[in-house]
Subunit: 320 residues, 2 copies
Amino acid sequence: MFFEGSEKKAEILVDASKLNLLTDINDQFWSEFVECCHAKILSSISNAHCKAFLLSESSLFVWQDRLLILTCGETQLVNSVTHFIEQKGTDAIVHFIYQRKNEYFAQAQPSCFGDDIKLLSQYLPGKAYRFGEMDSHHNYVFHLDNDFKAETEDKTYELLAYQISDLASKKLTEPNLSTLEIRNYLAIDTLLPGFDIDDFVFEPYGYSLNAIKGEQYLTIHVTPQADSSYISFESNLNLIRLAPTILAILSPRSFDLMSFNEHDFEALLADHIDSSYISKSLVNEQLSNGYEVSFANFIRPQTQFSKPVELDISGDNYAL
Amino acid sequence: MFFEGSEKKAEILVDASKLNLLTDINDQFWSEFVECCHAKILSSISNAHCKAFLLSESSLFVWQDRLLILTCGETQLVNSVTHFIEQKGTDAIVHFIYQRKNEYFAQAQPSCFGDDIKLLSQYLPGKAYRFGEMDSHHNYVFHLDNDFKAETEDKTYELLAYQISDLASKKLTEPNLSTLEIRNYLAIDTLLPGFDIDDFVFEPYGYSLNAIKGEQYLTIHVTPQADSSYISFESNLNLIRLAPTILAILSPRSFDLMSFNEHDFEALLADHIDSSYISKSLVNEQLSNGYEVSFANFIRPQTQFSKPVELDISGDNYAL
């Protein structure tokens, strides 16, 4: 069963004195907000800094002055963004970023990145970039073109693992796994000591986790099925330092690391990514909004011939 | 300007005693045949064995007992195949193979491989495989599931070069290039001594070449524009042996080699692909139709960070 794990991601930064996202907006609004892209709120956790919603398709994090939403599958996240703008206006918005990865199966998506930014540009005129090559892993970034300047310590990280090992895929597709079993398998106690955690196991498989601790957050989304496996980590924790632990568990054939404002990106890669992985893409840019964006794709070279995948023509999934 | 260079490819093998493709079918039929997928015949060359048509989107080769058609862009090649079957029936067809590569921009295609084989299966029931990973270069192969057994010496090769060097891209997008200048740049005299050649330079750029000599054929299709460059070679000449010459000229960042019935594929790669390229995918299968199919994707590791591509939001091409 194919599922498109790759997420679209939107970040809206606001002037909290004009619109405090934690105190001026209620859960009913967030519920409608995510329904605009056909997602649903499953549960939430919160602390003094942040409210984290686990969604039927990924996650929504809300701080006083910022929201971050990631949605996967065939959701059309831009529709949530335009709903937000139509309901709340643009006066309080100090910055906006929209991101989209290449998908496994782009033709099944209701829109492409070009369609998305054509729509968004009507509300929030901006600039757009592609990090990574067209015929390989890449990540599109669109941002509002205004005088916003990100603080240099405003750092976020993504680790996106593709084609996890057969062992990891088998484990994570076992029937009736509990959240505890998956937490143990993913070494969540080691990765996230002392975090509040909200997680969910989907039927027949798939797993999402939100974790918060003070101002720190991390979210994990697991699409474990063999052949189209995809596991994403997004956090303001340094995921390059955590990469060795994650890669040891999942052993992906390919992975991306991306960061906003990790100024030691290159040195961290050298220190933490072992030489069994080869860098296929390395891209870096200081954007005009103050974010230094870095992207790297790593692959594990193949030395043995494998068999092709025979497609089940009798089913509906043979496009894959 | 983006153009989808990746081809769809169909091969129809017939019993020439029932339907001789060279003598029983006239050019008017081939003209209608290619128009079914919105391509046009530009010119043709022929010898005692083969007639080679240069198309507005790639090439058609016709032998007594076989036809090979490759079409690029947004052509829907399956419509030509179903036209052939509706006009000529299936009695004379002894085998059929349909192939499709991953595209740069799959969402712009009128159909995906799954749609194509759903249609084809109504006429020619078969089996389908994917050579290469979903999140990387891959090639779908569908073949009629009958008792046909290919001869072991029935060998064909493809070399598909992606992201050619800036130098090669600049040269091949120069205005008003002549066919002779492109032939010289591609070292056609060295690659194809003594071949009859038919070639065409497209506006504003792009180049196609058909070459025949006895039973030998080679076709080249050049989409040279930076960022989405793609150059394909398809031949019954051993393209693995020719790869060093081709790679030295184009210096692609990534390329695929594929073969039907090159039984020394692995050894030839070891002998002819230099160590600046790393094998990302290696796939091999002995199909039930007698063809041993091999696929390899090579990449050149990156060690330096490059800049992202800034997309021109004012234009129509910013999806790319």
